[in-house]
Symmetry: C2
Subunit: 344 residues, 2 copies
């Protein structure tokens, strides 16, 4: 049997331990895996493009476990009341090839993206940062806000979305989480006094959510929404003024903000900062940019966290995804009449 | 919700309609997809190798649906009472990227492999073929036997395995299916008088299961077991004497029997025979060889068959693999207390 964590059980788990605890624990797994980054088999994602969007398979392995995520990106889905991005994932045992966990990953991806953003900001933002601007208040925004509160001690949010209803939604959702929230009237207004600026907009176009004059000395920019070819949020001048940090340079040059820059534009891979091989913020006046596109190891970390977290709990079901004949050479025995009753 | 067909429901379905009917219907789907072969997006499988085996993701898309199979190959699993190969698959809607079906594919792969073999043999074996030699009596053997009975009218089997218990198992499993079965004392003995020779052995080594003198004029060879780099079953002289048919030449040159042959060794892709662009058997004395390695479109066909077959039936469950907030921009709402009770 394979353990299955669907949306219902993941929501129950988060409700049981609190979203802040889940984010903190998940960040610990992601950080641990960044620490052993060179040990991973890192494969380019396998993408199938259509006129409506993309379906991707993102595998990663550390030699003991193998994980992959299925994820789609369909910008027009929202109009039909569907989500732009949905995801699920599987973790397997490398020694046998047997899957051990199947999990929903739509919510889990929002959690791991936010945890990774906050983890990066812990190395890159000023330690005294307390105010974050949050631009783009879609499906991922609350997760980003709570990760920065939990991991960095952000207390003040300045939020903006072109759609006013999105701000109303965010304020409603974050009620009771101890954040002081100001709804700004524009992106320009949102960034005033912000120590950290998070952009997580959904446009699938080259957009300039942040122009150069909006980013002052000492700001950390957490650029989450520029995450596929043709989709960026920052004016290139911001990238030139700051130091840019990425997950895997090779992937980010295609998908991230730096797709706007020459091939040899200098970037630092985040794992080097986490292991201490490279410096993070060096100066309170430096501008730092985390050009986040999401990488398969982060999904691997999330699956690994979930596998360990549900151990000994009831936050999962078991499903009969694998045929398990008592004699492995006798697969056909499963079809014999004595076995063909409803095993449920 | 996503429809889920686990082992229990697939076994119930097969028991309900009979395995022969499933094989016949499945072969119809596979044949239909071979007919529109050029319409498919065909991607190389994405493999992760370890010292113990391999884990592969095999995607295919026809522009309306997208399917992928997860499959492992771990030769040492059998010693631990586990299966060498397990698999599951997902079918999605290309327009939205949403998965619509999750299914066990260990049994389904055995069925689709056998159906494809028999489909090829229908074009390649002599129409009067009634006797098949079956060498290698592991997990897939009974499925091969029943596919050839169902689609070609094979009535007589001559079977052999180096492990005598495997023959006992096959004879027991195929009792009541109307096949006349002779247990042969060797591979040489098994092929005597056979019109078709199927090899489906499990050795992960270059082995010569069939030597040149064992294959006489007019025989069709269905070579299923030579299916990964380093694993072959036929002496190269057999390949030189016959005409060789493959699924996708580019993949079979790496994985199939023809990995023993020069890069330009002539082969015919099966879809060309099925569409009538290329000839199948041209002469009763010709030797034909189907060098089968399995291709992602066959898994796609199997998932498509299953999706259609369970429609209006109760041979599936629904699982909460996808987060579905009523407002797609409000993923976080799923975590709010009013929603965090156990939805089950």
């Amino acid at each position: 049997m394979v353990r299955y964590v669907g949306v219902g059980n993941l929501v129950r788990l988060i409700g049981h331990v609190s979203i802040e605890t889940v984010i903190r624990d998940l960040a610990g797994y992601i950080e641990a895996d960044f620490h052993r980054w060179p040990d991973f088999e890192k494969t380019p994602r396998l993408a199938s493009h259509s006129s409506d969007g993309v379906i991707e398979l993102m595998p990663a392995s550390d030699g003991a476990s193998y994980g992959f995520k299925y994820v789609n990106g369909h910008p027009a889905n929202t109009k039909a009341g569907l989500q732009t991005v949905t995801a699920f994932g599987v973790l397997s045992d490398v020694a046998t090839g047997y899957p051990v966990l199947l999990a929903e990953m739509t919510i889990l991806t929002a959690l791991r993206t936010a945890a990774t953003s906050a983890l990066a900001a812990r190395c890159l933002a000023r330690p005294d940062a307390r105010t974050m601007a949050l631009i783009g208040l879609g499906a991922q925004s609350e997760f980003q806000a709570l990760a920065f509160k939990t991991l960095l001690g952000i207390t003040h949010l300045r939020v903006f979305d072109v759609e006013p209803a999105a701000a109303t939604k965010l304020v409603r959702n974050l009620g009771g989480h101890g954040l002081d929230i100001v709804v700004a009237s524009s992106s320009h207004d949102a960034v005033i006094g912000a120590d950290i600026v998070t952009t997580v907009t959904a446009d699938k176009l080259k957009a300039t959510i942040l122009s150069d004059n909006m980013i002052g000395a000492g700001v950390h920019v957490n650029a989450v929404g520029g995450d596929c070819p043709g989709k960026t949020e920052l004016h290139p001048d911001i990238l030139r003024r700051g130091r840019v940090f990425v997950e895997l340079a090779e992937q980010t040059r295609i998908e991230g903000e730096i797709q706007q820059m020459p091939e040899d534009f200098p970037v630092v891979e985040l794992w080097r900062v986490i292991t201490g091989e490279a410096s993070g913020r060096r100066d309170p006046r430096e501008i730092t940019i985390f050009d986040s596109v999401g990488f398969a190891t982060e999904d691997f970390s999330a699956l690994r966290y979930l596998r360990d977290r549900i151990h000994g709990s009831d936050f999962f079901e078991e499903i009969d995804l694998l045929a398990e004949p008592s004699d492995p050479r006798d697969l056909f025995s499963l079809l014999k009449p004595s076995r063909s009753g409803d095993p449920a």
